[in-house]
C-alpha cells in the first residue's frame, strides 16, 4: 500500500497495521497521542508480530482512540475506566491473545484506578500503556489525579491544590513486574521500552507523558506545541542521571526510565 497524504509519517512496514480509511487521526495539532500511536505500531513491527494475534482494549477519552478504530486488529472500546478488566476476561479465556490496554490518565488512574492496581497485583500477562497528558482532554480540560500542583484547569481555575499520583510508583508498589516511564519526546527509548513491555510475561505498565496543547497548554500559557515539548524534555531526567543529582536539583523533575524490569 502506498502511503497517502493522510497516513504520512507511517512507514511501509506499519501501514498494514492500520485502517487507512480512518486517517487522519482526530487528535489536535501538537497532541502527543499520534506520536505514541506510531511508537506502538513500530514496536510491534520491530518484534515481527502480526496484528491478527493482538487485541487492543481501550476505555473512554482521547487516548482510547489511539487503537480504536485506527488499528487493523481486534479492538474493544469499552466503558470509562474499565479497559483493564475487560482485557482481563479476554486474556483469561484466550491466553493466546496478546492483549494491550491503552488509556489516558483519567481513564486508567482516576475512574479505573482500582482495576489498575488489582491488575498489577494479579500480574496477569497484559501490557497497559498510559498516555498521560495530565488532563481530561475530551471533556474539556478538567483536573485529573496526575495534574501537577498549581496547574490551571477547567475545574481548578485558581490552580490545582491536590498532589498528583506518581503512576509508576503506584503500579510498581501494587506488584507490576515491568514498569517504565518515557515521553513522546523520548521516542527511541520509548519504542525500546514498549517492545520490552509487550514481550514481558506478566503485567507491564508504560507511562508515556504526552503533551496536550489544546486543553492543558492554553490554560497554562503554553499554547505552542513545540514549547510544551521542550519543557517536557527539560522536565524529564533519566533514572541513571538522577542518581548523581541532589534533592534540590531534582525538584520539579520527572524521572524517566525503567523502574521495574
Amino acid at each position: 500500500m502506498k502511503p497517502s497524504i493522510k497516513t504520512q509519517g507511517l512507514t511501509e512496514s506499519i501501514l498494514s497495521f492500520v485502517r487507512p480509511e480512518v486517517f487522519p487521526t482526530p487528535f489536535c495539532p501538537g497532541c502527543g497521542h499520534g506520536v505514541l500511536l506510531g511508537a506502538i505500531l513500530r514496536a510491534i513491527a520491530d518484534l515481527g508480530w502480526e496484528m491478527d494475534e493482538m487485541l487492543f482494549v481501550s476505555g473512554i477519552g482521547c487516548a482510547a482512540w489511539i487503537p480504536s478504530p485506527h488499528f487493523a486488529a481486534d479492538t474493544l472500546h469499552v466503558t470509562h475506566g474499565r479497559a483493564v478488566v475487560f482485557a482481563t476476561g479476554a486474556k483469561l479465556f484466550n491466553p493466546a491473545l496478546k492483549v494491550v490496554v491503552i488509556g489516558g490518565d483519567g481513564d486508567l488512574a482516576s475512574i479505573g484506578g482500582n482495576h489498575l492496581i488489582h491488575a498489577a497485583r494479579r500480574n496477569l500477562d497484559l501490557t497497559a500503556i498510559c498516555a498521560n497528558n495530565r488532563i481530561y482532554g475530551m471533556t474539556g480540560g478538567q483536573v485529573t489525579p496526575t495534574t501537577p500542583p498549581g496547574i490551571r484547569t477547567a475545574t481548578t481555575p485558581q490552580g490545582n491544590t491536590e498532589p498528583p499520583f506518581d503512576l509508576c510508583r503506584l503500579v510498581a508498589g501494587a506488584g507490576a513486574s515491568y514498569v517504565a516511564r518515557y515521553s513522546t519526546y523520548h521516542i527511541r527509548p520509548l519504542i525500546r521500552s514498549l517492545k520490552r513491555a509487550l514481550t514481558h510475561e506478566g503485567f507491564a505498565f508504560v507511562e508515556v507523558l504526552s503533551p496536550c496543547p489544546t486543553q492543558y497548554g492554553r490554560r497554562n500559557k503554553l499554547p505552542q506545541p513545540e514549547e510544551m515539548l521542550r519543557l517536557m524534555k527539560e522536565e524529564c531526567v533519566n533514572l541513571q542521571r538522577a542518581e548523581g543529582m541532589s534533592k534540590e536539583e531534582l525538584e520539579g523533575k520527572t524521572l524517566i526510565g525503567e523502574f521495574v524490569s
Binding site: V22, M51, D52, E53, L55, V57, S68, P69, A72, A73, D74, T75, L76, H77, V78, T79, R82, V85, F86, A87, T88, G89, A90, K91, L92, F93, N94, A96, L97, N114, H115, H118
Partner: protein, 385 residues
C-alpha cells in the same frame, strides 16, 4: 469442532435425581449450558453460585475459567471481555452488586454481547436486608441501563427451574446476543429440593460469521465473531455502523441501531416468552392471580384452596418477566372479573398488568418475608368483594 445454533449434548451431570440448593442448581445449569467463564464477586445471598462454579470448573476438562474479581464492575466487564473471546460467560450477584454492574450491562446491550447475569434478589434499597428475600429488582433489570433497549429476564419458582432456566438463559443470550437475567430471590436460591437431570440437554451456540458478514448489522441478530480469529473486529459502546465504526453524529445510524437492538427481541416474543396457566380452564374466571418467582408457589397453593371453597380462581405464572408477557396476560384477564398480582415489592409487575387489565389489584409485601398462601387466599377474597 464448533457447532453453531441448536444442538443436543449429553448432560454434564450424570442423569438422575439430585438434592440441591437453588444456587447450586443454578451453577449446575450453567455448566450444563456450556458456561466456561465466570467472573464474580462475593455477595449474599448469591455467593454459593460462585463457590460451586469455582469447585466444579476445577474438575471439568476443557477450557473453563473462574476468576474472583475486585468488584462487580470488574466481574461483569471480565465476562463481556471473555464473551468476545468466545466464552459463554456468567456472573451472579444481588441488588448492590447489580447496581454496580448496570453501566457495563448497558455496554453488553449496545455491543450485543451474550452474557448471563443472575440476580438473587434481597430486600433493598441499598444494603437493606442481605439475607431476606424480595422481588424489588424487576424494574432495575428492565430499565437499569440508560437509553432505549430490550433485555430478557426469567423468573424461576423452584430449584428445578434454577437449573432449567439457567440453561434457557444461556440459550437465549446466545440466540439473541443480549444480556439475559435470571431473576431469583433469596428464598428460591437457598431452598433445597430435588432436581432431575435429563440424559441430554438442548443448547444453542452463537452463530459465527461466514465470509463478508458484518458483526453488527443486516441480520436482525447478526453472527458474532470471536477475537483472535483474524476478523479485526471493532467493538464499541458508541453508536456504530454494521462493521463497528463509530458513528457518533449520524442520526440515521443511531435510529437504525437502537431500533434493531429492540426489535431483535420484540420480533421473537414467541421464542422468548413462557408462561404457565394453572386452573385456568372454563370460560370465565372469578379471579385471576398473576404471579412470578417464589411468590407463585404460594399463589398456586392459595388458588387451589379458594377453588375448593367454590371460587373460580386461576393462576397465570410468568416464567419470562421481560419482555413482558402482555398478550398472555391480556387473553386471560379478558375473561377474568378480578385480577390480583401478589409480589414482594410495592407493585412493579402490577403496573405492567394494569397496562392491559385496568381492573388488576396488587398484594404487596416488603418486610423481607415471603408471601405465604394464606395471605394470598385472604387477598383473593378481598379482591372479589
Amino acid at each position: 469442532m464448533y457447532k453453531m445454533g441448536w444442538t443436543t449434548v449429553e448432560s454434564v451431570l450424570k442423569p438422575g435425581r439430585y438434592f440441591l440448593q437453588g444456587n447450586e442448581a443454578c451453577a449446575e445449569g450453567a455448566i450444563a449450558a456450556g458456561c466456561n467463564y465466570y467472573g464474580g464477586y462475593p455477595i449474599t445471598p448469591s455467593s454459593e453460585i460462585m463457590e460451586r462454579i469455582c469447585e466444579r470448573f476445577a474438575g471439568l476438562g476443557g477450557r473453563c475459567v473462574f476468576k474472583q474479581m475486585e468488584d462487580e464492575i470488574a466481574s461483569i466487564a471480565s465476562c463481556i471481555g471473555a464473551s468476545w473471546a468466545g466464552a459463554k460467560a456468567m456472573t451472579a450477584t444481588s441488588g448492590p452488586g447489580l447496581s454496580l454492574m448496570i453501566e457495563n450491562i448497558g455496554y453488553a446491550i449496545m455491543t450485543e454481547t451474550p452474557v448471563v447475569i443472575v440476580d438473587v434478589q434481597r430486600a433493598g434499597p441499598s444494603t437493606g436486608q442481605a439475607t431476606r428475600p424480595a422481588q424489588g429488582d424487576v424494574m432495575q433489570v428492565r430499565w437499569g441501563p440508560h437509553g432505549d433497549h430490550q433485555i430478557i429476564a426469567l423468573s424461576p419458582w423452584s430449584v428445578q427451574e434454577m437449573y432449567d432456566q439457567t440453561i434457557r438463559a444461556f440459550n437465549l443470550a446466545e440466540r439473541f446476543r443480549v444480556p439475559v437475567f435470571l431473576l431469583g430471590e433469596e428464598a428460591v436460591a437457598h431452598l433445597r429440593e430435588n432436581v432431575d437431570v435429563p440424559t441430554e440437554t438442548r443448547i444453542y451456540n452463537r452463530l459465527r460469521p461466514q465470509d463478508g458478514e458484518p458483526p453488527f448489522g443486516l441480520a436482525k441478530v447478526p453472527p458474532m465473531p470471536a477475537f483472535g480469529q483474524g476478523h479485526k473486529v471493532l467493538v464499541t459502546g458508541s453508536t456504530h455502523d454494521e462493521w463497528g465504526y463509530r458513528r457518533t453524529s449520524s442520526a440515521q445510524a443511531q435510529e437504525k441501531l437502537v431500533t434493531r437492538l429492540s426489535t431483535k427481541v420484540t420480533d421473537h416474543l414467541d421464542e422468548i416468552i413462557e408462561v404457565e396457566e394453572h386452573f385456568c380452564d372454563g370460560d370465565e374466571l372469578d379471579i385471576l392471580v398473576v404471579a412470578f418467582g417464589f411468590t407463585a408457589r404460594s399463589a398456586w397453593r392459595a388458588v387451589k384452596a379458594v377453588r375448593q371453597e367454590g371460587t373460580r380462581a386461576g393462576l397465570l405464572r410468568l416464567k419470562t418477566i421481560w419482555p413482558f408477557p402482555e398478550e398472555a396476560v391480556r387473553q386471560l384477564t379478558l375473561r377474568s372479573r378480578a385480577v390480583l398480582v401478589p409480589e414482594m415489592n410495592r407493585g412493579q409487575v402490577l403496573r405492567e398488568v394494569q397496562r392491559v387489565a385496568s381492573q388488576a389489584q396488587g398484594y404487596n409485601k416488603t418486610d423481607g418475608e415471603v408471601i405465604v398462601p394464606e395471605e394470598i387466599r385472604q387477598a383473593v377474597q378481598e379482591a372479589r368483594s
